[in-house]
Symmetry: C2
């Protein structure tokens, strides 16, 4: 058994994203035995590729459970007849798709599903450092915006699951007349600050906007507005920001400055406001938070990771 | 022992509010043995009155623990030298006040402190019906606005505690040019929608505004905006609304209608959106949520209430 493996089980993980499926067999971030990625086409094909990956490796690396960290919205109510389905996604071919059944049947192992962001939050919580930060928020800002939260060691969901991308945040229409691109709410957080929103507003994809472009100050302002609401709601000890837009690294310090301004000395004692660089941070697991989150979900099935609950 | 008492202990509770202190000795909402209220003056005097109340009853009704449900902000970090202090309240005479020490010393019982809204949320969670709704949010809209949340049976707090009254919500300044009255953030939720904000905007105290006054539609809109953000953050199973402003009962249906409009069919399947009257509700414990929350906090010390954790 390799060093760092806490039990003798291997786990499968799938990060089911809107553009690609990441598959992995691992027992921790340091013990990855196989991985692959497949483009997200239609459910039948993509799920078949994923199934084949785990089946092909099953002799050498048999998995004890499979975690799926999926785009959503998902039905996570165990009582529901459509438990584990992707529900009303704008990605129409995936709308009302049972994403777990084919894999469960084909692999004959327990399957645990949760949102991609809840899973990423879980991975960052478990493996993001020596210390556990609770509550921990994970927010991804890319093609879409989503957020997950760990409270007392477990992802939060109630009636359905959080949809932090659609938070209502103030917009000064005199300074920024952009209408927003969310098909549901127009100028919600995602409608104002996702990658596609940046592209629609400025006429260039985010990654082509120069470092000194005013786009980044405005982007930091909207992200900070949403974070302030999340801070006031959860009082989190850590906020991990991931996703394509956040690969513009200068955003982090701009966001921290704006969060401090917007909180205006309320809430935190100044000493804590001066420590925002330890609270609002990039993903420690980098672009692997999601798929490792799927591994963590699979581990949850056996409660084989340290959990304060 | 009276029916409904689950153990033989009695508990003390104090709801420490900005205008009054409510004191109670009880073991459940149906087993209240003594209660009193004192005006909130200066700490020395008000805490002395509260201490005397419990001491006077101590022969007949000795308490096993005391819960304090306090206005804030509070220092709830057990590691902090100022644990249990009211910190930066605008109520200056109470700023930097150790609210627990005098009572702990005088009564010689364990003292458990939390925010008034976390405590009220806990009381509504435990005693608000047969079924437990988790997560459960409690929001009070009155002189100030505050919110607490129960996740997996316990109040949420991290770095400090939630301050949901200061959420940033969109305001259409063309339709509502009101500047907002929050001394920290001007037009945050509390700045736009607290009782004093209504009075400043309309020139009349909320309770004197007629039922058909446009104030109530605007008020419902702002409350709904904040609730939408909290729904998108926590995905709560129940949202309990209390406080003076919510005694305008027609607000409930207006708020539900606005929440549904603002969510715009996203998030919840329509079937759930049609059940908002079971999700957004008035306090089951009426104006006793806070002080019974204090009793619940005291019970927490002995973990003597059913808690899913």
């Amino acid at each position: 058994m390799k060093k760092g493996v806490v039990d003798n089980r291997l786990y499968g993980g799938i990060e089911a994203g809107g553009t690609k499926f990441m598959c992995m067999i691992a027992s921790s971030p340091n013990d990855v035995f196989a991985s692959a990625r497949f483009p997200t086409t239609v459910p039948e094909e993509t799920l078949e590729c994923s199934l084949a990956f785990f089946q092909d490796h099953s002799r050498k690396y048999p998995i004890s459970a499979l975690g799926i960290a999926s785009f959503g919205p998902l039905d996570l109510d165990p009582e529901s007849p459509t438990y584990g389905y992707i529900t009303t996604t704008p990605k129409l071919q995936w709308s009302n798709t049972d994403i777990t059944r084919k894999l469960k049947t084909g692999l004959n192992v327990p399957v645990v599903i949760n949102t991609d962001v809840n899973a990423a939050a879980l991975a960052e919580y478990i493996w993001g450092g020596e210390q556990k930060f609770d509550p921990l928020l994970y927010i991804t800002i890319g093609t879409g915006i989503g957020g997950g939260c760990i409270v007392r060691g477990k992802p939060i969901h109630g009636l359905i699951h959080p949809e932090m991308g659609h938070l209502r945040i103030p917009q000064n229409r005199e300074e920024d007349p952009f209408e927003g691109i969310c098909p549901y709410h127009r100028n919600c957080f995602e409608g104002l600050a996702s990658g596609p929103a940046m592209q629609a507003r400025w006429g260039l994809p985010a990654e082509q906007l120069p470092d000194d472009h005013p786009a980044w100050d405005l982007e930091a302002f909207y992200i900070a507005s949403a974070l302030v609401n999340l801070i006031l709601s959860f009082s989190p000890r850590r906020i991990v920001l991931g996703g394509g837009v956040m690969s513009q690294f200068s955003l982090f310090s701009k966001i921290r400055t704006r969060v401090k301004e917007l909180l205006a000395g309320y809430l935190y004692p100044p000493a804590i406001l001066d420590q925002l660089e330890n609270i609002i941070i990039p993903a420690v697991l980098k672009d692997k938070s999601g798929v490792l989150g799927a591994i963590a979900l699979a581990m949850c099935h056996f409660e084989s990771f340290p959990c304060p609950d």
